[in-house]
């Protein structure tokens, strides 16, 4: 298993290098830390030139990249171009922590709801509940996340408070803790997580419940379920121990694989809710032309996605003893 993981890693590393170079190049193409100096008539071209030299932006692309890469592989995330030479890592670290928290909250909530909804839909296939959940889940994947986010902000921030009589908004609509908050306050932090989590979750619930429903339907029509029933087992045991257990295997790995898709919703959600995570940092860095921040955000996202794909692969082998590693898991599942 470790050998397999290492092999995968060996293939992945060059890919990461390519990605990082691509991003590096793109960052330079897209915008530059000096972009905002250009239009200011008070800033002389010479000052700008000095600044460019200071940042090393005048050197050939591969030299700049080499320098960055050298630092990066030694674990040194370097210093920020735009943030006046401050260390990059603290920014990334904080954003990453925030994002992981949000993702964890959203994914676990969505799994909880999504799997339950999926199971019930599957065993009551064709019922009103099933149709309802199908419709809601399609709705979930049909609403643009940013619009949903805005609606949530207005509903929980404004309308609900208005209907319930004037008062403080029911839930904070942005940020990660209340202005002026000093130190750590769990409740406050949680309250700030609610809306972004909801915005992110609707889609995930929809997707997960569909996965689970499909997987469960497939499993529940399997012969071994009939065997379980023929053993005189209670239906709940048949559904949970025999049905869900198997149905979870492909779902689990699919969830891990899907994390890459989550990034999209994450960027938008963080933007809407001003949630200081990797998505917001990414957008900021992109606008500021700060590749020193942009690169770690993209790289970490890529690494996380790669890692989760690997985990999904390994997990599949662990969860399903039939699968031998080295065989193409996804193909196996598509069969």
């Amino acid at each position: 298993m470790i050998g397999y993981a290492l092999r995968r890693l060996a293939v992945t590393l060059p890919v990461l290098v390519v990605i990082s170079f691509g991003t590096f190049w793109a960052a330079g193409e897209i915008s530059s830390p000096t972009a905002q100096l250009t239009l200011n008539p008070r800033i002389s071209p010479e000052a700008k030139q000095d600044y460019v030299e200071l940042l090393g932006l005048d050197r050939p692309l591969h030299v700049q990249y080499g320098k960055w890469l050298g630092n990066f592989v030694t674990g040194d995330f370097g210093t920020s171009l735009v943030r006046n030479g401050q260390d990059v890592w603290p920014f990334v670290e904080r954003a990453l922590a925030n994002t992981l928290l949000l993702v964890a909250a959203a994914v676990s909530l969505s799994l909880l709801i999504g799997l339950a909804v999926g199971v019930v839909s599957a065993i009551r296939r064709g019922s009103l509940w099933d149709y309802g959940s199908v419709t809601v889940s399609f709705l979930g994947v049909s609403i643009p996340v940013f619009w949903l986010g805005l609606m949530l902000q207005l509903f929980f921030g404004l309308y609900l408070a208005n209907w319930l009589g004037v008062g403080p908004p029911l839930l904070p609509t942005a940020g990660i803790y209340s202005p002026g908050q000093q130190g750590f306050d769990l409740l406050d932090r949680v309250r700030h997580l609610v809306l972004p989590t909801l915005a992110l979750s609707l889609q995930l619930v929809a997707v997960y419940s569909r996965y689970m429903r499909a997987s469960m339907l497939e499993v529940m029509s399997a012969d071994y379920i009939r065997t379980a029933r023929s053993k005189g087992l209670r239906e709940s045991r048949v559904v949970v121990r025999h049905g869900m257990r198997s149905a979870l295997v492909p779902v689990t790995t699919q969830v891990a694989i899907d994390i890459g898709q989550l990034v999209g919703g994450l960027i938008v959600t963080e933007r809407v809710f001003q949630y200081p995570g990797m998505g917001l940092l990414f957008l900021d860095a992109l606008e500021g032309g700060d590749y020193t921040i942009l690169l770690p955000t993209v790289m970490i996202a890529a690494v996380v996605v790669f890692a989760l794909n690997l985990v999904a692969d390994l997990l599949y082998g662990v969860l399903d003893p039939r699968v031998r590693l080295g065989r193409d898991r996804r193909v196996a599942r598509n069969v």
Partner: protein
Amino acid sequence: MNVPDRRIPGAAALLSVRGLRTEIDTENGTVTAADGVSLDLHGDEVLAVVGESGCGKTMLALSILGLLPRRTGRITGGQVLFRGEDLTQATPARLREIRGADIAMIFQDALTGLHPLQRVGDQIVEMIRAHEPVRRDAARRRAVDLLDLVGIPDPDRRAASFPHELSGGMRQRVMIAMAVALDPAVLIADEPTTALDVTVQAQVLETLARISGDLNGSILLITHDFGVVAGFADRVAVMYAGRLVEQGPVAEVYGRPRHPYTAGLLASMPRIDDIPGRLERIAGTPPSLISPPPGCRFAPRCGFATDLCGELTPQTRLWPADGGVTVACHHAERVGAG
């Protein structure tokens, strides 16, 4: 053959299916998988149900245990009497009690029939503990004993295997072990050896025969292999397109088939012990169970068919004279004479 009176239809039987009608909804319409099927399984006998693929054998077995596909399958008529109790009317809880403990089932394909993610020992343990309040380790010891009983070498270690780690024959033995774990009165074996190679099939059948002898249960053996029937069953029921066409002691039926279908089948089989020559054949293919032909369902393929066959469904009737053969054919006398 040693208890002739009990073979008479209507005599008190261990398991008695009366006029069973089973329907399954499919994409293309409703399949009547069993249409007025009646059969009796007596204590301590092996009754084989034979018939071609799709004629409704499995559905018949599932109907007995109330295991029809949940949304699409249903029993629309008839009774399933187990020790006089109508299982079609039984509560789900009662059915659960009976399943496994009184009537156990072995399925055709042991690879898909066993849970792929559960160790085989645990699957047997689960069976035991679903019906008896025994401790896990006690149940496990029994599971190992059962695996030993069905001839699995090194049962202790094998109990911890996953189904995919076992060969086809071993998997089917595990199925058997699981089915006989609680010493059921009736064992329904749905084509237990079809997926196996001949040599393995012989081994598994051997095991099944040995165990059924040990356990004093009755076996309802479902198969499409006349050879297996001949070697294993006491009585045989021949099914065609959802109906029983002929039923009786194996020797009687094989020796003098009264239904043209039975006769045709027997004649069309290449035999290992026969001189090769031209095979007899039954023309055409079995009818669709969604819209079966009126009257006798075999009529369109039948050489004896008359206009009557296409109009009137033949009643199942007791063959006069001989012991316990019933047949559903307007022209049974002609066939039987031929």
